[in-house]
């Protein structure tokens, strides 16, 4: 009878574990993004990490079942109300040695595969290509080290969805305007750094998470097996929009990747030619204000607010500010190069000459600033070149 109740007690303790593990296996089999568990991911390493995680998990569940089983059994069997009389022992050398040595052995059993996986993960040698990943508040920048192609990657979810004015779409907060594109089957090396505070570049499907430290460079790598879209997020608190700077990586078959790269290189070349053309063009005030408002709301309003009033004590107001009303050259300079020691970043790489001209014009005329100033692409180029 005692043994039966013992078994029942242990079974009761084990039941939630069985239920739980069923969910995990079911989810894993479905191969979609699980809501309960890590995913197996798209690389050999991420698969090893997943297996290690499951091994650890089951060992921990096993330990819990045994320990709690004994305790729950005792709570039933040794209740005073059941007539239990207290025993007298308070030590047992053999048992104490056993329950020190056995956990130690379990740890060694866990440590061996863990060490092997870790060594494999940190071996960045013999990469096929390199991408420089730069985090800043609050976006990522990608540069292909063997090409001219580089671009910023910003959250693409509409503000109205965040503010609950529009319905949220499927990849809410996990979509960007320009994802990183890499080839499958090749070892891609990621060099990771930051322009301002510490960020962290994380793609769960690659089991890659590495901090982006300002002034320092870190490396990580992934060799993706399956083409697909892989979504991750920034994983280190970096200020107010830490939750709004996702990572999206598209892995393409090598041929498709090559095609994409040449397309991008063409685009870069064309953009350079366009910039040259623009230097002789003049936009009208209307065109400047319209384009300027678009750029302002997409890029500047996050900190300086749509009404230009900023966040007192944190981000300065542009409405009525000295720079916007008087010093046009200083205004252009600060948008181009940012201001060191503050959160104001350089936008010379992110915005085109035309966009900077438009947004500076907008800032100098909106919200009652009304300077009447019109800034053209050539003016911006002059400041950038030091003329």
């Amino acid at each position: 009878m005692k043994q039966l109740t013992n078994v029942i007690a242990k079974g009761a303790a084990a039941f939630p574990f069985l239920l739980f593990s069923h969910f995990l296996y079911a989810q894993e089999a479905a191969e979609e993004v699980s809501s309960l568990n890590l995913r197996r991911g798209a690389t050999d390493i991420s698969g090893q990490v997943y297996d290690l995680h499951m091994l650890m998990f089951f060992i921990c569940v096993g330990i819990a079942v045994v320990v709690f089983g004994v305790m729950f059994a005792s709570m039933y069997l040794h209740r005073k109300s059941r007539g239990a009389k207290p025993a007298n022992f308070h030590e047992n050398v053999k048992v104490e040695i056993a329950w020190t040595v056995v956990p130690f052995l379990i740890l060694i059993f866990m440590a061996v595969p863990a060490a092997n996986t870790l060594i494999a993960m940190e071996d960045v040698s013999e990469a096929d290509m390199t991408v420089l990943v730069t985090g800043s508040q609050w976006k990522w920048h990608y540069k292909y080290m063997d090409s001219d192609v580089e671009y910023y990657s910003l959250l693409a979810t509409q503000r109205e969805q965040i503010e609950n004015k529009f319905e949220k779409t499927d990849n809410y907060l996990l979509e960007v305007d320009r994802p990183l594109v890499i080839p499958t089957g090749q070892k891609v090396r990621f060099l990771i750094t930051s322009d301002d505070v510490i960020h962290s570049w994380w793609v769960p499907d690659f089991a890659v998470k590495k901090d982006a430290n300002p002034g320092f460079i870190n490396e990580a790598w992934a060799k993706v097996n399956e083409p697909g879209i892989y979504r991750g997020q920034c994983a280190e608190l970096c200020g107010k929009d830490h939750g709004y700077m996702p990572v999206v990586v598209i892995a393409k078959e090598p041929a498709a990747f090559e095609a994409w790269m040449s397309e991008q290189e063409d685009i870069v070349r064309q953009a350079k030619e366009e910039e040259q053309r623009l230097l002789s063009m003049n936009m009208s005030m209307d065109e400047l204000m319209k384009e300027g408002e678009r750029v302002y709301n997409a890029t500047c309003a996050a900190c300086h607010m749509p009404n230009g009033e900023g966040l007192p004590g944190v981000f300065p107001a542009l409405k009525g500010s000295k720079l916007a009303l008087e010093d046009q050259k200083g205004h252009i300079e600060i948008v181009l190069h940012g201001k060191s020691g503050t959160a104001m970043q350089a936008f010379n790489k992110m915005l085109s000459l035309k966009e900077i001209a438009a947004v500076v014009t907008y800032e100098r005329n909106a919200w009652g600033n009304n300077t009447g100033d019109m800034v053209q692409a050539k003016d911006v180029n002059d400041v950038a070149m030091g003329n």
């Binding site: 040698s125 201001k339 060191s340």
Partner: protein, 195 residues
Amino acid sequence: MSQANANNKMVLKLVAIVIGMFGFGFALVPLYDVFCDVTGINGKTENSAAVYQSVEIDESREVTVEFITRTNTGMPWEFRAETQRVKVHPGELNTVSFYVRNPASSNIVAQAIPSVSPGTAALYLNKTECFCFNQQPLDAGSEAYMPMQFYVDPQLPKEITYFTLQYTLYDVTARASDLTTKPNPFMVSGAESGK
């Protein structure tokens, strides 16, 4: 010894520990630097020039060194390495040139901060001449070609065949020393600046 006396003696000892640990917290700063110098864990390189004398060149090995240049927020300079990658033999002295241009309307002083990945390779990167050892002033509108001369220590572990050296340029005009009155020796004359 009375109770109060015994208590006070103990308090003094404990306060000494507290003060000691406060000092230890600050001592962690130079300790960290020493530890990093010895192990290279944070990828920082030496701040002073190495001496190149009787180093045997290891012709059997080739190591690729990759250069990344970046400018920090608020630093308007153009900054690029003339060569993105060099293949070197450990022990062999190499020179790489870095181009900088100050497009702003004011004189600016820069500090280049190096960072190496993998971090342990930093121990084996010996720079005999580097613009990162000093603050670099550049007049408004001027440009310069700054050399960096280095050799890779043949003791570099065999597994490392490729490492990356990143320079981030910071605007340190506000905290520059008085040496900035001297013109930058690498500067190309200001008249040639512009496109």
